[in-house]
């Protein structure tokens, strides 16, 4: 190997990387919240008796799960403004694209969580004469959320990783900043490796946390 590593110069650029990281984290956080909310609505749609509502929900989910996230981002960035006849800023486009993606994957999570609620819970609600609204809000919804949390955490990690794709449309996230610095300083190895480690340092603990959370929750719920 004839490459001489030099990490010293990186101290000059750490603030730029920090800004990039902040953008990535903010984007992830906003889209997780928006996406999860929308995802819950979509999962409810897929339990609907109305065939139209069910179809809309299913088509939406299959569309976003069956196409590359990159194309989704490109479409929102380049095609949506044309379709809607409005200008959409970089940040807004990114939020729309990633939230829609998060909604699709989290709706599957909620759906599985709802299915995991045993039939006998539903029977108990009938036997107790529980009103339908009370049943949904006090029995189904809380248990769905609790059961969904571990997988939602996992979805969040996925979203965090996919967020790096916004660098491809010129948004200044962590990867974009990193690539920028790499080209400018001709030290791609150090920079890109560092950027990779930053992503890792955040995603890895979260992934481990999923297992811990899952065990704690299962102990509390599965009586």
């Amino acid at each position: 190997m004839t490459y001489h590593f030099s990490f010293g110069f990186m101290l000059d650029y750490w603030s730029a990387l920090l800004i990039g990281l902040t953008t990535t984290l903010e984007l992830t956080l906003i889209c997780v919240v928006l996406g999860a909310l929308l995802g819950f609505v979509v999962s409810l749609m897929r339990t609907s008796e109305s065939r139209l509502i069910y179809a809309i929900g299913s088509v939406y989910v299959e569309l976003f799960r069956g196409t590359p996230v990159l194309i989704q981002i490109f479409w929102i960035f380049f095609c949506l403004p044309i379709v809607l006849h409005v200008e959409i800023g970089n940040l807004s486009s990114a939020i729309i694209a990633l939230s829609l993606y998060m909604a699709a994957i989290s709706s599957e999570t909620f759906r599985a969580a709802m299915k995991a609620i045993s039939r006998e819970q539903h029977d108990a609600c009938v036997a107790l004469g529980l009103a339908p609204l009370a049943k949904i809000t006090r029995v189904i919804f809380p248990q769905t959320i609790l059961r969904a949390i571990p997988t939602l955490l996992s979805n969040t990690v996925s979203l965090f990783k996919e967020s790096s794709l916004v660098s491809a449309v010129g948004m200044s996230d962590l990867l974009y900043v990193g690539q920028n610095i790499a080209t400018r300083t001709f030290h791609p190895v150090e920079i890109l490796t560092t950027v990779a480690f930053i992503y890792f340092a955040i995603a890895f603990p979260l992934t481990r946390a999923v297992t811990v959370v899952e065990q704690r929750l299962l102990r509390k719920i599965d009586a």
Binding site: E120, A127, A134, R138, I221, A223
Partner: protein, 256 residues
């Protein structure tokens, strides 16, 4: 002499999968207010389904269920859904084999949920009643516990208490001790015996022959979708009329 029928089932027909699996082929059953009816029979004979139909959980194809002479569950004509009198349904309580306590609520929470949200009862009043009920059955110290912290026997007793909160006129128990470790069965049956002594009419599906012999006022043998035989326990167990009944009793007692 037995007073007028409390629960009367006439000509119950039910199948699953649009006629693919026949569960009931014209089942008749009667029960008076003083009765504690125990239903026994082989697995898949329809015992649990019978309770579920009475509870209104599964639809019936034909026939009628009346309580106190009033129509309760009637089969719809043609493809129409069953007509269920909701007021009467609210007076029937049921406890299931697998606890089905709501795991995210405390014991007290489980007990007051239905009264507060669906019967317009004030939370304070419901909590008071719930606490009194728990005390009556020796569960007061578990009021704030969560289902995951309770033993199987305690969970079932809480489930019974939860059903009692609705002040039912008829209680149904679907194999409530079948999933319990043997030493926990006693505490649950003790509670059921107390209820029986307080005059609660009940229909009990169970494999526990002790209960059938000692607590029941009538025993019914349900197999092949009909009540093949029924009678008072003493008579029923010592002198079963059908050989099929006899075989079943012998096998179950041997296994006990």
């Amino acid at each position: 002499m037995r007073d007028q029928s409390f629960v009367r089932i006439n000509g119950l027909h039910k199948s699953f999968g649009q006629g693919a699996v026949q569960v009931f082929t014209g089942l008749d059953l009667e029960m008076s207010r003083q009765d504690r009816l125990v239903v026994i029979g082989p697995s898949g004979g329809g015992k649990s389904t019978l309770l579920r139909c009475i509870m209104g959980l599964d639809p019936i194809d034909a026939g009628e269920i009346r309580i106190d002479g009033k129509p309760y569950v009637s089969a719809g004509e043609g493809s129409q859904k069953n007509r269920i009198d909701r007021a009467i349904q609210r007076q029937v309580g049921m406890v299931f084999q697998h606890y089905t306590l709501f795991p995210h609520l405390s014991v007290i929470g489980n007990l007051i949920l239905a009264p507060v949200t669906s019967r317009g009862e004030a939370k304070a009043g419901a909590t008071q009643r719930a606490t009194a009920l728990l005390e009556r059955f020796g569960l007061a110290d578990k009021a704030r516990s969560y289902p995951a912290q309770l033993s199987g026997g305690q969970k079932q007793r809480v489930a019974i208490a939860r059903a009692l909160m609705l002040e039912p006129r008829l209680m149904m128990f679907d194999e409530v001790t079948s999933a319990l470790d043997p030493e926990l069965v006693v505490e649950v049956e003790h509670m059921m015996v107390e209820l029986a002594e307080q005059g609660m009419p009940m229909i009990v599906v169970t494999h526990d022959m002790w209960f059938a012999k000692n607590i029941a006022t009538r025993v019914a043998f349900c197999a092949g979708g009909v009540i093949l035989e029924q009678g008072e326990p003493a008579e029923f167990f010592s002198n079963p009329k059908l050989s099929r009944t006899r075989d079943f009793i012998v096998n179950v007692l041997r296994a006990a």
